[in-house]
Amino acid sequence: MVSNSLSLNKLKTIISYIAAIMTVIAFMVFVALRQTDDFSFEPFFPYRNVILNGIKNTIFVSIISLLGSMVLGFILYLLQKSKIKYFNALIDVFTEIIYGTPLLVLIIVTAFLIGPAFNSYNRNLFGVLALIIYMSPYMKNVYKAAFSSISHDQYLAMDLFGFTSFQRYFYIIIPQVIRILMPPLMNNFSLIIKGSALLNLLSYPELFFTIDVAQSRNFAYVEGYILMWGLYLLITIPLSQFTKYIERKLSL
């Protein structure tokens, strides 16, 4: 009886999700058919390799930006914890400025103003740098939350049992920090992937840009935008599902 009502509940959930997804698809079909009579992705077929490359580039810059912002975020975290007041102030000011800046503006300023100021016209490099800088305060917060979640009492226990400094980090602190770090890290990764679409502004051939280019040649704008949207979701939704999974798996 119990398992019966449980599976019934599960069935209801599944049906509800299918219905919800159908609703969204119906809406999109409506929007698409309002603007074109012969909806077809065929015009994009010749560009499949270019678009595939765009996906690869999106994932590539996103991974670079993730790693870069993890490193920069950790440096910010250390500076914020530092006893030197100037560093604390610097991080505060920096964080406020980044929080107040739209990513679009940061990319333009970094690639078109800061880069040239250092005699660099490598816009792609500075575009990625902008993404890294933009994400770093968020990464800093992730570290802060992870390290502060190890309680004072745990430190007392490590002290009492006589762990060396290396043993504390290696066996107790870092394994816990990694578990706590993973879910927000992956959420940030999703933010980065979405943010990287703005790099099309610098003509970096990521997903948005490649479809944009294809559209300007085959004029299939409606299909192009829907394809673009769908492809981003194809990357981000599995990622967020995976994040939920490891969140459950790793929680302490």
Binding site: Q154, L156, A157, L160, F161, G162, F163, I172, R179
Partner: protein
């Protein structure tokens, strides 16, 4: 156990412990009672060497508690179990034995199992702390404290976060440890446990040892404060 407390003062923002002088010999199960904020936990932390007093000295079995040797003779059970949350109950013990006591793997394993069995946890050894009940986690933390073979075990309200049934379960497990030949110093609000298990009682009031003696003092308090306290907790 021999206990000598000389001129202990301890200050956080306010004076928490005020000029404690106290000595005791030949008691092996000391209960510390008193109202919240009276300084019980602070005294326990100082005696266990977890914290250093603002001034004064504490010697236990003729060893000063700030001697690095002392920590090796001490086990501490916290109010919340305070197991390392990413390690199984067993690994919580074997890690300590292997890394800080340089025990070989097999011996660490054997010792861990011995104490986990002693606390009736043999079926739970591979679970993470979050996957066992509060009482089981607290018993595992007692097993962990025992596993390094300390002479003295400190318990700071080990049942404060547990419901009455789990409290009974944990305290019964502690009472079973009587025969191990270890000394216990503990803070608790469970008076029946004090009467059953303690052979000496310290009543703390406003940062001082207000009254102390064998558990019989609970029946016939000499001071008004202990009398009031007994009325409230009953």
């Amino acid at each position: 156990m021999k206990l000598e407390i000389t001129g202990i003062n301890h200050t956080y923002d306010v004076d928490v412990l005020k000029d404690l002088n106290f000595s005791l010999d030949n008691h092996n199960s000391i209960a510390i009672i008193g109202v919240s904020g009276s300084g019980k936990s602070t005294l326990l932390r100082l005696m266990s060497g977890l914290e250093k007093p603002t001034s004064g000295t504490i010697k236990i079995n003729d060893l000063s508690v700030d001697n690095p040797e002392y920590k090796k003779h001490v086990g501490f059970v916290f109010q919340q179990h305070n197991l390392f949350p990413h390690l199984s109950l067993k690994r919580n013990i074997t890690l300590i034995l292997e890394k800080t006591r340089n025990k070989p793997k097999e011996e660490a394993e054997e010792t861990a199992m011995k104490y986990l069995k002693l606390l009736h946890l043999e079926d739970q050894v591979n679970k993470l702390p979050k996957n066992v009940s509060g009482g089981q986690a607290q018993r595992a933390s007692i097993a962990r404290a025992l596993s390094v073979d300390p002479e003295i075990i400190f318990l700071d309200e080990p049942t404060a976060s547990l419901d009455p049934i789990l409290t009974h379960e944990v305290l019964t497990a502690v009472e079973e440890l009587k025969g191990l030949g270890k000394s216990f110093i503990f803070v608790t609000h469970v008076l029946s446990f004090v009467k059953d298990f303690a052979d000496y009682v310290i009543y703390m009031h406003e940062g001082k040892i207000h009254e102390c003696g064998i558990p019989d003092i609970l029946e016939n308090p000499k001071t008004n404060e202990l009398n009031e306290f007994m009325k409230k907790v009953r």
